[in-house]
Symmetry: C2
Amino acid sequence: MTVSPANLQSPAEDPATAHYLLLSGGVDSSTLAGWVQHSHRGAPIVAITFMYGQKHGVECDAASAVAAHYGLEHRVVGLSAIEGSALTDDHQAVPEGRDLATVTGVAPTYVPARNLLFLATLASIADAHGPADLWLGVHRDDHTGYPDTRPEFVRAADEAVRLGTQYGLRVKAPFVEWSKADVVRWGVGHEVPYDLTLSCYQGSRPGCGVCDTCQARIEAFREAGAVDPIPYKVEG
Amino acid sequence: MTVSPANLQSPAEDPATAHYLLLSGGVDSSTLAGWVQHSHRGAPIVAITFMYGQKHGVECDAASAVAAHYGLEHRVVGLSAIEGSALTDDHQAVPEGRDLATVTGVAPTYVPARNLLFLATLASIADAHGPADLWLGVHRDDHTGYPDTRPEFVRAADEAVRLGTQYGLRVKAPFVEWSKADVVRWGVGHEVPYDLTLSCYQGSRPGCGVCDTCQARIEAFREAGAVDPIPYKVEG
């Protein structure tokens, strides 16, 4: 496994800083697990998976496998079900076969204030113990459909977390200006175990291949010139 | 009941805006309930009480009584227990008889990232439905012991909530620059039902009179030249 330090954020902070990362078990957060592990080897790293009423729980198994691969402590934290999303509401269907190059507006799979709620919960867990960085795997290709993945949100959340905690915790989102293909390119170069990950919004293994996130994953691997190790029912 | 409109925030916003307020059943949030009800009469107002592992649940009954007084919808929302506070940890005692004029630093009763977590949860509930204001009853006298009551935190949280939600929700904290005595003064002038409220960190009725919050309440009524309608075991 090769790490090129030039790619990594400076690890010059206090070695007592702990690291908490949001790990869903998909491509982005699993790459983030690799990033944090490479850049903060030896520091305490806790991966947290939130259960918030998703229709399927298989992503939790994927997260667990990725955490085990990197030797991270893994915690599963239950939140009250979040209303108002196709990912949590049985009355809303997960969209299939949308042309992601042309869709606009907030995605039906947007989960209200999810990233803020996740970061606030991480902050509450971490701030009981000491200084910490909270890591989020958002990237540029999600900015249109998900307001809580934009750089301006990350900056504002960082400020709110810093000012609202006794230890002045910080939020870090190293991929926020990257495309999903950039994320995959870094991950393939650093042997992120993509075979263990699960992205499908249907929670299907093999992936359905037609939901927004299967489509985005397939396209990102194609753009990165890499082979996606997981199988699909339909490959668009 | 008299309302002097000059005291109130302009209700010039979209009448479709809903209002969600954090209601613990203590003096500050019960006064806030009065404030929001007076300034946004006729708009949908939802009071939310969080259960987060507090040692006592009586404050929830007080919140319920205050919400009923104002005719507000009241919801009780459970959160995972928050670690690391004398309010939630059986191994940490709630301090008694501290001289509040001289204490410095973060209070032992600080609950890690509580206000951020509460606001993020409110945001998640509200953002499923439409535009909303999220109301917080923090004031100046809490700024030293509780970092998440300071104006700079409120501003940052407002920005994070606005940018992290599909409807661009806003955070409002009308008392943030007021003293607790100012809050009581406004409340007494507007007939806030302080007889229904409960402040004691011990969850005791009559109030213990010696915990930080009983002391602060007694002092605020004294400064405001008002009579506190609730009884105390000991009045300092």
